[in-house]
Symmetry: C2
Subunit: 391 residues, 2 copies
């Protein structure tokens, strides 16, 4: 059965060239990631709040705005429609009474990476990919390995030795080929690039295929739908590769064109760790791209990305929405983790804690104003990081 997807093209956000979405596509000739484009004028006629409301509570409720063409190719573990919850005590403590958390720990594999993997693997299946390959800081690899196993597609993963140990166990259990690398995700990326050119693997690296971002953008749709199609004033996102933030920004534009959400878009905030803050630095210096961050190191391993391929799209999203970029220290992250667990029963991952820490700092600076609604992305479950709080 057809999904009735309205995908119409792949487009390069750098040089503007169009690409075919019916065959496997990776980077543009100019080196930029590609973005999926939909015929939103046509979609507007069939995709309504009412039609969406009647559907199952997973991310495939937005299937007309996802790239998969045939429902038989959908590889799902039940991902999406994660809780959006008020944080009254934690919010009050930092002077943000309208604080919300989008809890991406409540999803298969325990992190938001499941969204990108669900859509990315489904589309790779539809395009006939035989072996998927990617570098990962852990959770993306685990998620892609899970969905590849469900799809019956082989998976080859390169992961830093420093990644959360549970992610190794997951990749192995899912039957993926796993290489551990004494280095950063950027070093893993070099290995994967070699395999892709030598063995013809399907390159599933961050933004080197256009569909992971389509899965991630559903966080934006869900936040809007869960708020009754009203938008929060601010969305705070812990930023490594930045795919989720790029995706949310894309979703905001699509929802506006579809008439699903009106008014000003939320101001988007990229949070990074002080030990690895290339996008914060580029934002502050007014540059369009970031520079490789030497000696990257933080307890929030998922955002330990020294140079993101989509950095220019992240920076563009921040500037277009009147957003901000904020760095927090590891100490602030750990204190935020403890505070959210003790006061809200939310055992978040260090990256989610970074978003909460940033909310406090931005409120203190007056950048977040009194009475504003602020949604934090907690990108994963704290239980995947048992060592971070000791124990």
């Amino acid at each position: 059965m057809k999904t009735n997807s309205f995908i119409s093209a792949l487009e390069c956000p750098k040089c503007g060239s169009a690409h075919d979405f019916r065959t496997q596509a990776h980077l543009c000739g100019c080196g930029s990631p590609l973005l999926a484009v939909y015929d939103l004028e046509a979609a507007k006629k069939t995709v309504t709040k009412e039609s969406i409301a009647r559907r199952k509570a997973d991310l495939w409720r937005y299937k007309e705005l996802l790239p998969v063409l045939d429902e038989d190719n959908i590889v799902t573990l039940g991902e999406g429609m994660t809780p959006l919850l008020p944080l009254p005590r934690a919010g009050k403590a930092i002077g943000v009474e309208g604080l919300l958390i989008k809890d991406e720990g409540v999803i298969p594999t325990g992190t938001f990476k499941a969204r990108g993997a669900a859509v990315g693997v489904s589309k790779a299946k539809e395009l006939g990919a035989a072996v998927l390959a990617m570098p990962t800081n852990g959770n993306a690899g685990a998620a892609w390995a899970a969905y590849a196993a469900k799809a019956g597609i082989a998976m080859s993963i390169a992961m830093p030795l420093g990644a959360p140990p549970i992610c190794r166990t997951e990749c192995a259990a899912y039957g993926a080929e796993l290489r551990l690398v004494d280095g950063l995700i950027s070093d893993c990326g070099k290995l994967v690039a070699e395999d892709v050119s030598r063995l013809g693997h399907y390159d599933a690296s961050t933004l080197k295929e256009p569909y992971r971002i389509e899965g991630k953008k559903t966080m934006g749709y869900e936040i809007a739908e869960q708020l009754g199609w009203r938008l929060p004033d601010v969305i705070i996102y812990p930023t490594g590769g930045g795919v989720g933030l790029i995706g949310i920004h894309k979703a905001l534009a699509e929802m506006r064109a579809l008439g699903l959400a009106e008014g000003d878009p939320p101001r988007l905030v990229a949070v990074q760790a002080e030990g690895c803050a290339p996008i914060v630095r580029a934002f502050e210096e007014g540059r369009e791209e970031s520079e490789f961050w030497e000696g990257a190191n933080t307890v929030a391993f998922g955002i330990n990305v020294p140079k993101a391929l989509g950095d220019f799209l992240v920076l563009r999203a921040l500037r277009e929405t009147g957003g901000a970029a904020e760095a927090v220290s590891d100490d602030e992250i750990l204190r935020a983790m403890s505070a959210l667990a003790a006061t809200e029963g939310q055992f978040v991952c260090p990256e989610g804690a970074a978003a909460f820490a940033a909310a406090g700092k931005l409120r203190e600076k007056g950048w977040i104003r009194e009475g504003e609604t602020v949604a934090l992305l907690n990108t994963g479950a704290g239980i995947k990081y048992p060592g971070v709080l000791g124990g």
Copy 2:
């Protein structure tokens, strides 16, 4: 705002006496757990498939059939409506083409214990409890600690040293008082009983308050609703304390009275580990209660319960539905874990793997017949048990 709960009494399933649900209640004078009773005749007029369908995808969509009276007392982290997914490859491998998994790993705190904790803590809050106390094999303690933190209620927990280490970290993070015991959950129970009588703590031990079961029963409602209010032929449940199975059995009776689900109820199956199978033994010997299992030991720590307070209710549920009780070895559990991960992208907990192993054995014996629909309960995420598959 009122929830419009139709709770009408607490009833003893052993001696039949009625108890007040408006004050704190624990065991019946006869020593039996109490069960919540609802005015289902009245509920039938307002609780319909259509009214439920329009609600948020969490377990509070069944609020009229839950014990909380005031919505302000609902303590939620977004739990419920976990995925119910087909397992085509794994099912084919064991000759059960209609195999389904209810994935309770996709829930706050990563296990089905969140359901009992959400409803149990909410009701304890409504009843004015100040300090909750319980013994736990790990995951229930973690879940209750999370919801108690969200509610702003103190929590005191006793846990065996052998419980999954992550659960200690969780309890500590949530600010619970935690005692580690060199013994079994039954030894922890003795400590808690002392505290309850000495300090007046609210006894939240398994089945020593009547509301955890109400949270767990929503698994039964969800399975039915997710199948379009049709029931599967068989439901297989890994059984320690057995609360989920008792709850599902209760939900089946309620749904029948409410006209939500028709036809024969599913045959319920209790799965235990060969190293701790008191209910399997009692079932086979035709007894109404189990006996304490000496030297209990299994890799599936969540079902390492040597004697369950609600054993007679579990045995009654099995017999009333024409069900079965099946023991599986640790080796079978580990092989089932690997098989589900590699073929279905499902990294289940050892208890969920036990349910899959039992499905294979029951099919082999011919007890599960060709063409039957069989739903497995995976009670938690495999990521909470990193050591079980090595790593």
